[in-house]
Symmetry: C2
Amino acid sequence: MNGFDLSADTARGALASLHGDESAEAARERYAIAVWCQLIEPGDSVAGRVIAARGPVAALEAVLAGGPVPEVTARELAEGRKRWLPRLSARAVDASLATAAARGVALVTRSDPSWPSQLDDLGPHAPLCLWVRGDVAALRRFEASVAIVGARAASRYGDHVAMELAAELAAGGIAVVSGGAYGIDGAAHRATLATGGLTAALLAGGADRSYPAGHTQLIDDIAQSGVVASEVPCGSAPTKWRFLQRNRLIAALATATVVVEAGWRSGSLNTAGHAAALSRPLGAVPGPITSATSAGTHRLIREYGAQCITSADDVRELLGLAPRTDAVTGVDAGRTGEATRVRDAMSTRSWRQSTDIARRAGMAADAVEAILGLLRLEGSVETGAEGWRLRTAAG
Amino acid sequence: MNGFDLSADTARGALASLHGDESAEAARERYAIAVWCQLIEPGDSVAGRVIAARGPVAALEAVLAGGPVPEVTARELAEGRKRWLPRLSARAVDASLATAAARGVALVTRSDPSWPSQLDDLGPHAPLCLWVRGDVAALRRFEASVAIVGARAASRYGDHVAMELAAELAAGGIAVVSGGAYGIDGAAHRATLATGGLTAALLAGGADRSYPAGHTQLIDDIAQSGVVASEVPCGSAPTKWRFLQRNRLIAALATATVVVEAGWRSGSLNTAGHAAALSRPLGAVPGPITSATSAGTHRLIREYGAQCITSADDVRELLGLAPRTDAVTGVDAGRTGEATRVRDAMSTRSWRQSTDIARRAGMAADAVEAILGLLRLEGSVETGAEGWRLRTAAG
């Protein structure tokens, strides 16, 4: 057993100030997860498979015992042990748990009722747990949520759009997920808080650390009403690898991901990639083609099938929700009414000249022609030698 | 015959200063087309079908004679006569031909070698002829061309983008089609001329009239090296109907149409509709979602499948041409190289961990992971429980 103590007493002692009221078995399991967190880097699928097959305690015992583990190949296990065992330290685990307790960071595992089950869509790459500051129960309220992410070096345009989208969506009851970074992330979090909405910041380092330092106050504010979470234990530094892996958590927690601004090689494209890999809807906000901070979003639209997002209602559509706009006013209403009048003046059987349609609709011929052009684009009418007619559903 | 004289002598007399050296038959045909131009509004498909079936002379004789015309229904013919005959005036035809001769406007018909045959894709809505100021032979050089169109009330961003796109495309030998209007159209024409490229302005009124008046100099400049054309005879006013019909000529003459800026209900959407109806490639330039002048282009991208255009190379791709960028430099080159290294380090048969791929590629693991994310988005690699592998063409 490599001398490592996985007894219920040890587990209960280490978890005393964090989760003091658990059964012996539950305490051992939670403690083993805390140990695993110390051993692995995020997204370690070998560890993920062993733990999924055996549970965290038996998986840890098997790895420590050194014998074969049928769920993975001998080579995977050997390489895994090389990665994991040098990090084995009861003291480090105790320290991370003590920090968690001191900083009000809860350890939420898959067995806990507040576990956001959409994270399990990551399969063997799913996180073992989340270290959570804030309202643990709110984790379940991200089932209708949107990730609003983008460049740290955002333009004023990007900041503005991120704030507008987040505020409008949050006001409509949609939770906003982001990464707590400068730029787009910060703008999305701030606007959500300002609207009284629910927001989660998923961090690359420990949930006890505010990163970036300049966002200490913002991250504290998020923890006040929402959730600050990480899969790495307290005290962990936000390495580049952990940033990339954190991006998969953002994509997995949210129902859909929207990239507001991104450079050609922005890390947000990595988040977008995770969303696409998870078959989550993906949106991107266009911007001036002269702006480097929109090059990545245009790339997502052009090359990766991201939806072009121009409003909060477009995001709601991405989420499969109805538009929130209560009253259709102005230009839209006018256009809808006119299009209806034109359709009413048409037939699925008879071809009609646009002048005839104009007469029947009581509209100017050129207005009718313009609307016919749009309806043709939509595919709801067709034109032929003898004029125009409505297309049938089959046609 | 309604007293109207369609004899060769009359035709030759009327055409003397315009096309003086034609055979009797050719002169009668050209004259009959000039008469038809006086009788019909653009896009009159009843006239189009009668003329397509019988030729312009016999079609005109049949209509004037008053008997049945088998190619159209009795009702269509009766309504057509009601539209056409009140406009019958040899004096008006002579006046338009005299103006054409005086202003250097040629009458180009389908029988002429310079006729741009792509206009015939409009079928019964194809124009009977073009009245052309400028280099008539250049009409054939629009076989690889792009229509750059958009809002009259363009923003500085729109003007800038229209100029950049037109200049870069024109420098690459692609002709630029537009409508001679203020805003996007004017910017596209000007930049093309400045680059020494070929441009055509298709006008809604007569080719002898410069519309808008503020573009008199620009339209003269276009006629100097390129083409100013219209399907309506000299002296015709640019009515709203003719603007909408002119849009179909822009879409039909050009290989592809790109809308640079457009409001939600812009007339450019009508041009886009014609391009789509003709199955011509359609592109739209994104812009700030906060800009009303980009609402129409975003609509084309979101709802009508327009390609998102961010550069002249994107337009070339729309036209089915190779990118013109000679040397791939900077970020792109770096990325391509890295992606190649990552692919080289992968296998279609064996799954490999990203760390293994990083080692084989001699690259940092997090850089590899970021590239794997992008390659996954592209669909060229896949990830599973045991890591990553290249997808085969079949898979």
